[in-house]
């Protein structure tokens, strides 16, 4: 029987006596406070300490900065010094906090759950490794010292193989380069310098290569600057987030990309430096525009247009890759694209060799071979670290079965996952946030990774490095004291390589401070080999018939590492805006042909299996192609709140708070169950495209959840104009101008004037001619001053030095939702789960709204994004209606929210025209150890309290306090909101509008494309949006 503690009892008894005391049973968990006997080093209460480190969530190894409070890591941010992430961090990288504090982390060394000592575990492992005549090590891709240490350890054990597990199909890219240029390296694709970028399948903004670097470079190239902006065309079966940011999306059948590339090359050849090359000419004559057009169904005119755009005298760039390109033609596509780059003369200009990027792992084929060897008994010991091949590889790879044949399988993974479940012994390694390490993601980039906090209390883990060292020691190799010393020894070497003099201590300290050593590299071009246009490389073109693509996204990766990060599940997928689920994307035409409707549940059958998913009809996918998100279908430990779904609305489903347990919850389905283990013939990379034998509706309506309100409003939408044949519903802005656009031409003063609110979108309902926000500030300050004087005080003084404002550049925003993750992390925003989302109880303070609007000129649908956060309105609707002043306009222009004063009338939320306020419908749980990630600078809100974005006021305070301590004013750019800090596109600027030199002031005062959302209601929000800029009023 759960006890009723005093407070609950009075709360309940006071109103309702015995009857309710029953409901009141069960009480909030009591937390003992244990005084810290031995405080960790550098423990400064209330002060944020940041550690420069390296992100290990994917093989891109971006630099990151880990913010810690009270010796606890609370947030991961990008490292501004790092040449790749340049201060930003992707959704997955930020979610490393949830990996660090994952509820599914393994508590300590164990054999099938039975706890053991580290020493005995390691000794046993060492002994077995000695006996074994061959050892297999499967781990995350390592580009740094660990690789060497690993090799030494394996050598000491008497020979072993190491495989790097990563699903990104980079072997194809390497193979393609090898064939075309004779070098298997991954070059630098200088997107930023290109005038025209054409991607063939490569979802550079979702998952291909380093999406942070890509986004940075992409904005450099594509954002409007000095009257011009680059052009971006995406050629792919699946539009994805990447295509949604393109100026043009060319939907093709999977496998047809190569044909298009060659046709374009053919168009360009005459004007190219290589026009003299007869063999090439004859090869390309096999791919005349018309023949390709007839083959692919892409009109000749489009291809010619592509060629025209691409002809930039070497300043254009074509990229290929990504999951959608892995249709069996992958390597040929890479070769064809390399050929295209060569013909366009981009080699050495936008395609720079010598960078030698280290990203991705070994091909899937090598794992199949390994599995074969395991079956044949070649390996007696298999170690698996940080990889989950059992989940990620298709079932018929036979990996799981092979693993069962191995006498000793040891998992070194941090978390318990599908693979570690099959291991005989689990020796959990620490998360990279707790461990030493380093990485060389590119030539000249030496990333250093340092522990930002002591090992998670209650979790008996060992860092991978130390484990290796210990293992080497037990194996009798000459091992250093610990991994740190080993690492430092390595870095002594790097110091030499870099030719940096001075004492090593200084070098080491400097490296630690800036997160490593970053230099450039000498780039060189390459020459096209004749093999690139050998007939063997001629693409066949895509197969006909229904095919399905397993697509990645910023929130979804084929490795499945994101599959149990609640932030990435709760934050809507950028395009579909769906949460906590798998879905299948279908084009309207296909849907109509197959007779399925939006939100229908369908059963998809392939040669390998079948699964059920909900239909999401979208224009952004080629006809006859389906797409499902990767990395789902995993079990997530999540609080079991009592569900009201499908239950009577009259009968109670009473929940005692003591009932709330953390139970594993299956989220979506694993698309890999549909995929066969088919690999690319040339590169051995896994194919992510497979033929679908049958798709039929089950007759059920799928339980798909999205915060997008319009999803519910079909019948309302049906009566408005934008209704399409496939019952997609209406996802347009209905002329309400949340995301407005204009054109380059208009900005440059011809072809319509730029004052026109996105004139090619459906017309804005209202045009307004209001005075600018800033005009009314003196007025406001004066009024307050008058009344302050009347009441005979000297406080408060309004807008004395600071008035915080924000500008959001929609031309830069890519809609990747990294800002949303940052917001969740910074402000302790609760994750509520699928059912709460479905009843409109989402807590997100910042949403990236996705609009699919009709272009009034072309009639095509176009995708726009608008990040919406609280506008801190000067004439806010929320403030005036609060009966208890729980929200008011503070002297720095922030719409302050006083949680402790709030009684929860919810009037403010009703009266907010931007619907930015969130109410705590219950007290939400943060499953341990996730609660340790909570930011102490932010209150954790209880039930019945209203909350919302406050421009990260905790960060503002922090900045001001720092400035105060240093006896100076806050300088511009010192204070960054979480969303701004992490935005890889620099779309968000934030600062003090009273400071004329501040970036935000400059933008707001000088821009010709600024506007406020719903200006006609005159709430005077402090967020200025800058219009999206398109080429001749068209975009994908």
């Amino acid at each position: 029987m759960t006890k009723v503690n005093r407070r609950d009892f009075f709360k309940v008894a006071a109103v309702s006596g015995a009857a309710a005391a029953v409901a009141g049973c069960g009480s909030d968990p009591v937390e003992e406070i244990i005084p810290m006997l031995v405080p960790p080093t550098e423990y400064k209460p209330g002060v944020t300490i940041s550690f420069a480190s390296t992100c290990n969530e994917c093989s891109a190894n971006c630099g990151m900065v880990i913010r810690t409070r009270e010796a606890r890591a609370i947030k991961a941010e990008g490292n501004p010094h790092h040449p790749m992430s340049q201060g930003s961090l992707c959704n997955q990288g930020q979610a490393s906090m949830q990996a660090m504090y994952s509820p599914s982390r393994s508590k300590g060394p164990n054999k099938k759950g039975a706890a053991i000592k580290w020493d005995e575990g390691l000794s046993e492992l060492a002994a077995k490794m000695k006996e074994a005549n061959r050892v297999l090590y499967i781990g995350r891709p390592q580009s740094g010292s660990l690789k060497k240490l690993l090799a030494e350890t394996l050598a000491a054990s008497g020979g072993g193989d190491a495989l790097q597990f990563d699903m990104m199909p980079v072997s194809t890219l390497k193979k393609g380069n090898e064939i075309a240029f004779g070098t298997a390296e991954i070059p630098e694709y200088a997107i930023g310098e290109a005038k025209t970028l054409v991607t063939f399948g490569a979802d550079i903004l979702d998952s291909w290569l380093n999406n942070q670097l890509n986004m940075r470079e992409f904005t450099r190239m594509h954002a409007y600057k000095h009257g011009e902006k680059g052009k971006f065309i995406h050629v792919s079966p699946h539009m994805s987030l990447t295509g949604a940011n393109a100026d043009q999306w060319v939907g093709v059948k999977p496998g047809d990309e190569a044909l298009i590339a060659l046709a374009v090359a053919g168009e360009l050849l005459p004007s190219s430096a290589m026009s003299g090359n007869g063999a090439l000419k004859s090869y390309l004559d096999g791919f005349t525009t018309d023949s390709v057009a007839s083959k692919t169904g892409v009109s000749a005119q489009v291809i010619k247009g592509l060629a025209k755009d691409f002809n930039q005298g070497g300043m254009s760039l074509a990229m290929a890759g990504g999951n959608t390109a892995m249709s069996g033609e992958g390597t040929k596509l890479q070769v064809a694209v390399n050929l295209l780059n060569a013909v366009a003369g981009n080699l050495g200009k936008t395609v720079k060799f010598g960078a030698d990027y280290k990203i991705g792992g070994d091909s899937a084929q090598s794992f199949a071979d390994a599995a074969q060897k395991m079956k044949s008994g070649a390996y007696q010991v298999v170690l698996i670290e940080g990889a989950n091949p059992v989940y990620a590889l298709p079932k018929d790879s036979g990996f799981a079965e092979a693993l069962a044949q191995v006498p000793l399988v040891v998992s070194l993974s941090t978390e318990e996952d599908e693979t570690s479940a099959l291991a005989h012994m689990h020796l959990p390694t620490s998360h990279s946030v707790e461990a030493w390490g380093d990485s060389m993601p590119r030539k000249g980039v030496y990333g250093l990774q340092q522990p930002a906090m002591a090992k998670l209390p209650g979790y008996d883990t060992m860092s991978l490095g130390d484990l290796m060292v210990a293992l080497a020691g037990k194996l009798g190799a000459a091992a250093p004291a610990d991994y740190k010393t080993y690492l430092m020894a390595q870095w002594k070497g790097y110091q030499k390589d870099l030719g940096l003099g001075g004492a090593f201590e200084d070098f080491w300290k400097k490296s630690l401070q800036q997160g490593g050593q970053f230099t450039g590299y000498s780039s060189k071009g390459a020459n096209l080999q004749s093999g690139a246009y050998a007939s063997a490389m001629a693409p066949k073109g895509g197969q006909t018939g229904l095919a399905i693509v397993a697509a990645n996204s910023p929130n979804h990766r084929a490795e499945g590492t994101n599959g149990n990060r609640t932030w990435l599940l709760e934050i809507p997928h950028p395009i579909t805006q769906l949460v906590w689920d798998s879905w299948v994307e279908i084009s309207p035409d296909t849907a109509v042909r197959l007779g399925v409707n939006h939100f229908d549940e369908v059963e998809i059958t392939t040669a390998k299996g079948s699964l059920k998913a909900g239909v999401w009809v979208n224009y952004g996918i080629a006809d006859n192609v389906l797409s499902m998100p990767t990395g789902l279908g995993r079990e997530v430990p999540f609080p079991t709140y009592v569900s009201t779904r499908n239950k009577s609305i009259f009968l109670p489903h009473v929940e005692m708070s003591s009932d709330i347990k953390i139970k594993p919850l299956k989220v979506g389905t694993n698309v890999m169950d549909l995929m066969g283990f088919d690999t690319d013939a040339l590169s051995g990379d896994l194919q992510f495209v497979t033929a679908v034998s049958a798709l039929k509706a089950t007759g059920e309506t799928a339980y798909m959840v999205t915060p997008e309100g319009q999803a519910h409003h079909h019948d309302a939408a049906a009566l408005s104009k934008e209704y399409t044949k496939a019952y997609m519903g209406d996802r347009s802005q209905k002329g309400r101008g949340f995301a407005q656009s204009t054109s380059v031409e208009a900005m440059n003063g011809h072809g319509g004037h730029e004052g026109d609110g996105g004139h090619h979108l459906r017309h804005r309902h209202y045009t307004t001619d209001l005075p600018s926000n800033t005009d009314m500030y003196p007025e406001r300050a004066a009024d307050v001053a008058y009344h302050v004087d009347w009441s005979g005080r000297d406080k408060p003084v309004y807008y004395e030095t600071n008035k915080w404002e924000m500008a959001v550049d929609l031309d830069r925003c890519t809609g990747c939702a990294a800002c949303v993750v940052a917001c969740y992390a910074e402000n302790n925003v609760a994750v509520v789960g699928k059912e709460r989302m479905s009843t409109g109880r989402e807590m997100s303070w910042l949403r990236v709204a996705r609009w699919q609007d009709h272009n009034e000129e072309t009639g095509d649908l176009e995708t726009y994004f608008s990040p919406n956060m609280c506008g801190q309105c000067a004439n806010a609707g929320c403030e005036t209606v609060c009966p208890v002043y729980a929200t008011y306009h503070n002297d720095e222009g922030i719409n302050a929210m006083v949680y402790n004063r709030c009684v929860g009338t919810r009037y403010c939320a009703n009266n907010c025209i931007y619907k930015q306020r969130r109410f705590n419908w219950r007290t939400y749980e943060f499953p341990a150890p996730l609660h340790m990630q909570l930011n102490p600078a932010m209150t954790v809100r209880e039930k019945g309290v209203m909350e919302k974005c406050n421009f990260c006021y905790s960060r503002i305070r922090e900045g001001k306090d720092l400035a105060k301590d240093m006896g100076r004013e806050v300088f511009d750019g010192e204070i960054k909101t979480a969303c701004q800090q992490t935005c890889p596109a620099d779309a968000i600027s934030f600062g003090n509008i009273k400071d004329p030199k501040a970036k935000v002031t400059q933008i707001v005062n000088t821009t010709k494309r600024g506007y406020h959302q719903l200006e006609e209601v005159n709430f005077k929000p402090a967020v200025t949006y800058l219009k999206k800029i398109n080429h001749d009023n068209k975009k994908a």
């Binding site: 309702s16 347009s732 209905k734 989402e842 609060c882 009966p883 009684v903 929860g904 009703n910």
Partner: protein, 440 residues
């Protein structure tokens, strides 16, 4: 009315106050169960948060506020009858005003619960009251919700006082007609009222003033309630038509509720039949017809303005109401409030008790739906299409709504038994006094 004399009035009243019978206790039991459900649900909500009700974001107000407006509305007819009709000396007032005034008091008592029930942290409700406290926390008089606090409290205290003052002479009647403990009890209740000219002099003047003061309250309270919506910025709420529209609606629903209560009362106590005469009921029916038309007009003018103003958000909303996924509630409202009163045009039905009763029930439902439409659909479909939402009912709010009816009827049942449900003094006033001249 020859058979009604000063004496017979007393007897009828006393008959209605006889010790309760089986049926009374049976219905009281049901009522208490309903009340219990409400209390349990409320306790659950306090413990676990607002999740048990269908409110969500963007729809921050739902069934609770609907109930609040509904009950306040019910209250209005009572005051209207007792105060306004008193001032205009309407003949049919005297027979029904006591019961309807009791209804007012209890309805407002019910309504006053809902602002508390609907707030997220009810244990802090007193923060809404401007009382001196050591933290020097004050309230925001710019908030329509605070106006509500004052309006509802004022209205409640005034109607309770008005009610009790009216009761004093009748308590005196009961006192003099009874003996023993009962006599003592009513003696205290009647404050030793004797019926001397000195008492009547001040009493009648004060009573007149009460009526005069209560009259503007009838209009002010519901106007202020309507400002909770009209003062906001949401399409569908931000309308100047609301105050008159709400007041008319309130009287409409109130009269319906009066019928719902008095028709059974008449049936239960035969003596009432020749006091609460069918023509009084008919007058109520006429009132319903009249206010019903005002309400219908308000509905149509809302749509007209939405179209005529060219305000696009407004148009979108009024497109959504009849065609969106909440259309059922809209059409239910239209049927109950605009169609169902129409039969009352025929005198035959107006004077037919079952017909009247059924119509009154329909109107009660319809007026609840009206408030639901105003509160919910407006929030469901406002400015930002991305943030549109929809509403589903949940058990907690259902139970609490049931409980509120339990609460209301509990008081009414107690009232019928311990208080004279007819105003003896005023009924006598309305009779021709006994004259010797008339007898010879």
């Amino acid at each position: 009315m020859s058979n009604v004399t000063y004496a017979s009035i007393n007897d009828d009243i006393l008959h209605s106050m006889k010790p309760p019978g089986k049926s009374w206790f049976a219905s009281m039991a049901i009522i208490l169960v309903m009340l219990g459900m409400g209390i349990f649900a409320f306790g659950y909500q306090i413990r676990h948060g607002m999740e048990g009700s269908g409110i969500n974001n963007p729809i921050g107000w739902g069934v609770y506020i609907t109930n609040f407006v509904f009950w306040v509305g019910i209250g209005h007819a009572g005051t209207l009858i007792s105060a306004v009709l008193y001032l205009v000396r309407a003949p049919f007032r005297t027979s029904i005003y006591r019961a309807s005034e009791a209804m007012t008091v209890f309805a407002v008592m019910t309504a006053a619960l809902f602002p508390l029930i609907h707030i997220g942290r009810v244990w802090n409700f007193y923060w809404l009251i401007p009382y001196p406290n050591q933290r020097l926390l004050w309230v925001n008089f710019k908030s329509p919700l605070l106006w509500d606090v004052f309006a509802v409290n004022t209205y409640m205290s005034v109607s309770i006082l008005f009610f009790l003052v009216g009761l004093v002479p009748d308590f005196a009647v009961v006192r003099d007609e009874s003996k023993g403990l009962k006599k003592l009890f009513y003696g205290i209740a009647s404050l030793g009222f004797k019926g001397t000219n000195h008492e009547w002099k001040h009493y009648m003047r004060a009573y007149l003033l009460f009526a005069a003061i209560a009259t503007p309250l009838v209009f002010s309270v519901h106007s202020i309630v309507s400002w909770d919506f009209a003062m906001s910025s949401i399409p569908g709420w931000h309308t100047t038509i609301f105050p008159p529209y709400f007041v008319a609606g309130a009287i409409f629903s109130g009269c319906a509720m009066v019928l719902t209560l008095l028709l059974p009362l008449r049936a239960i106590f035969p003596g009432f039949k020749d006091i609460i005469k069918i023509k009084d009921m008919e007058a109520m029916a006429k009132m319903i017809l009249f206010t019903g038309f005002i309400v219908t007009y308000a509905y149509s003018i809302e749509f007209f303005i939405a179209w005529y103003s060219g305000a696009r958000y407004e148009r979108a909303l009024f497109w959504f109401r009849p065609f969106g996924e909440l259309k059922f509630f809209f059409f239910l409202m239209i049927f109950c409030n605009c169609i169902s009163p129409l039969p009352l045009w025929s005198k035959k039905l107006r004077t037919n008790v079952p017909a009247l009763f059924i119509v009154s029930i329909f109107i009660n439902i319809g007026m609840w739906m009206e408030r639901f439409n105003i509160v919910v659909t407006s929030l469901a479909h406002d400015f930002d299409p991305y943030a549109w939402g929809t509403y589903t009912f949940e058990w907690v709010e259902m139970w609490i709504t049931i409980g509120s009816f339990g609460w209301f009827f509990m008081w009414f049942f107690i009232f019928v038994k311990i208080m004279p449900s007819l105003a003896a003094a005023e009924l006598k006033e309305a009779l021709n006094p006994p004259m010797r001249s008339a007898h010879e």
